[in-house]
Symmetry: C2
Subunit: 388 residues, 2 copies
């Protein structure tokens, strides 16, 4: 990142704002009210880890025309002023008597006529990052202005990545590739799982990640039970399958892929499961096209697994990726989202080896006109073996 | 962390649940509905970085008597089952047709009579981590049951830490102390600020942090402009004051303190500012007592700064600390929260050196009957100097 805080030239944010405004116009929203770290970063370039503190709400209002207005705690004024936003209204937060309610309401009344409608993302995979009580107060103050769901406005714009965004995701994928290369050395150097997790995060930072927002994994004899737990202090043993998964961040963009390793010679079952996962991913890499739906990606992946006589995992088998660790759509049987050129996605097939024992394989791609282009370096076809 | 996922023995969570239930009874809540990472970890011990994915909501319902009920995506079943919770209801999330709305509504109707009231935290420093549209659907389905603000229920219980919690925060503070000791070597080895940030995070992991949820800082000639920005690639120069601040995590508990360093010989102004900050912190360490209010802490800190002829920073001068990077109360003029024995707090005086140039100093304490006990190792009275 350069001296300023903008990840991209201002033109990128102007383009995004205009794309949102076109969606807003098509859906009858006179303004968009954004509260989440991801949406605010997307529109303004405001990048900070300070969201980790739940103390203060942050707001950006996108009017039907012109540049967004930031309504933020004064502690963020300097950083926001280095973004492309010039209309910045601040208050001293946290304020137990009025934590931005008055200021935000005034801005909404300023940019939206009394008969107008304010869009707020309130659908699947969203949440309103402000106190619910204050939301009710704002809604009351801005009446008779209506509030409507603007999830589609955000989703249809954010889900298609620009070339500049794809380059950023490719960068962080390459950083994770380099860190995964270190895993055999890390494991041989000290095989307690919690130590492996720490050293893997250090390897990500050493390779150039700005920070590591997510590391998870699993380890168990011939497979693992779950993929979201923190690491136990127990040592890895011969026969374990180790999986490491990461959402590392560079310039505000995430990677999200995993790698599996066999500690010592793998069982035939484990080797076969890895082979099935590899082939399922190959099928998706060959067949996925713009115009298909998210449920088609699920069908391709689970179908390829079943064709090999294995049992697909029950959860989603891939998802969007970008300014958060996971974005819509979800590769499930129920998600009808149309896959579009420029979407960055994960392919994440899972197989069930036995009750409570699974294996998961993940790659990151961008969907091109003629199919997926890999952003992560393709995993090896053979399950890698680490001899302790 | 051990083989299971419980940070503490089950008794700790039983005690917390009973304390919440006593507050609920006193305030007329027949159940508590929790959606945030912090509240759910606090009640159940469910610790995962998977919250980084915005895809799925998670719910825990605390009834007026007995153990909490988890209403969660099936991907979390294994991990939750290793906690002390036995009543776990799951659905396959994300589900675009019903993402837990039906299941959550049924549980609330099961444990709360039709004339009853469900408490949800909706005040300062809270947010509801679920889609706003789904919240409205749940509210409709559970009618005529009422929903009321339960911020006080959560705040009055979570803000007083048990001995076991204080031990955890002391552990992560010691880890950060060890990492801050490495900063002179890190800076001399390569003084680009973004590299310093990465190396500092690696030092935190090497010292035993499970992960590093927050690193921020600043660097500038004789002081810095803001304290929430990510690092630029620019090299540190003689005359810069470097500040590093971290919220590292061990076993789900945060530290939050910073350290200042002078690159080369500091200016008299910078040396003097550090001295003022040190003295202000000494004043708070000497004078703070249970029974005072948060605004009294602000008065002590800002008064000590003004008594030295310096200008206190405009923001809050300290706050709570625990299972999130920052917790209530806030040391401002407006926060009337009573300080209680067992609260873990940050003392964070700031001085303004010139427009856009500040210095901030931070320590972590637990408030005892006879005053503060330091959890971070006290910063040196003299501003440390790093010669490049």
């Amino acid at each position: 990142m350069g001296e300023g805080s903008l990840v991209f030239p201002a033109g990128e944010y102007v383009r995004r704002t205009r794309a949102l405004q076109a969606e807003m116009a098509a859906r009858g929203n006179d303004a968009l009210m954004l509260t989440s770290q991801a949406d605010i970063f997307y529109v303004t370039g405001f990048l900070t880890r300070f969201w980790e503190s739940p103390a203060r709400p942050w707001f950006v209002v996108v009017p039907s025309r012109g540049a967004p207005i930031a309504v933020i705690p004064s502690i963020g004024q300097d950083l926001m002023a280095r973004c492309w936003i010039s209309d910045i209204r601040t208050w001293d937060a946290p304020d137990p008597f009025d934590d931005g309610v008055g200021l935000l309401s005034e801005v909404l009344k300023e940019v939206v006529p009394a008969t107008g409608c304010i869009g707020i993302p309130m659908g699947l995979e969203t949440s309103l990052r402000m106190p619910l009580g204050d939301y009710a107060r704002v809604a009351e103050r801005i009446a008779p202005r209506r509030i409507a769901d603007a999830t589609e406005v955000i989703h249809r714009v954010r889900e298609v990545k620009s070339g500049a965004e794809i380059d950023r995701i490719r960068d962080i994928c390459a950083i994770a590739d380099a860190a995964f290369d270190k895993v055999p050395d890390i494991v041989r150097d000290g095989p307690a799982l919690d130590r492996v997790f720490r050293q893997f995060q250090m390897a990500l930072l050493a390779a150039g990640a700005d920070w590591v927002s997510y590391t998870a994994g699993g380890a168990g004899q011939g497979g693992y039970g779950d993929v979201i737990s923190p690491a136990a202090a127990a040592p890895l043993r011969a026969g374990d399958i180790l999986m490491l998964d990461t959402g590392a961040v560079r310039d505000g963009y995430f990677c999200d892929f995993d790698r599996n390793f066999s500690i010592g010679t793998p069982s035939d079952d484990a080797r076969r499961a890895h082979d099935v996962l590899f082939k399922a991913t190959e099928a998706a890499l060959a067949q996925l096209r713009p115009g298909m739906r998210a449920c088609d990606a699920h069908r391709i992946l689970s179908g390829a697994i079943a064709a090999e006589g294995a049992i697909p995992g029950g959860g989603r088998l891939g998802h969007g990726l970008g300014v958060t660790l996971t974005e819509w759509p979800s590769f499930t049987t129920k998600d009808l989202t149309v896959l579009r050129e420029g979407m960055v996605l994960t392919l994440e097939p899972a197989v069930v080896l036995a009750p409570g024992r699974i294996m998961v394989h993940e790659e990151n791609i961008v969907l091109r006109e003629d199919g997926p282009e890999l952003l992560s370096r393709r995993a090896s076809a053979e399950l890698p073996v680490i001899e302790l």
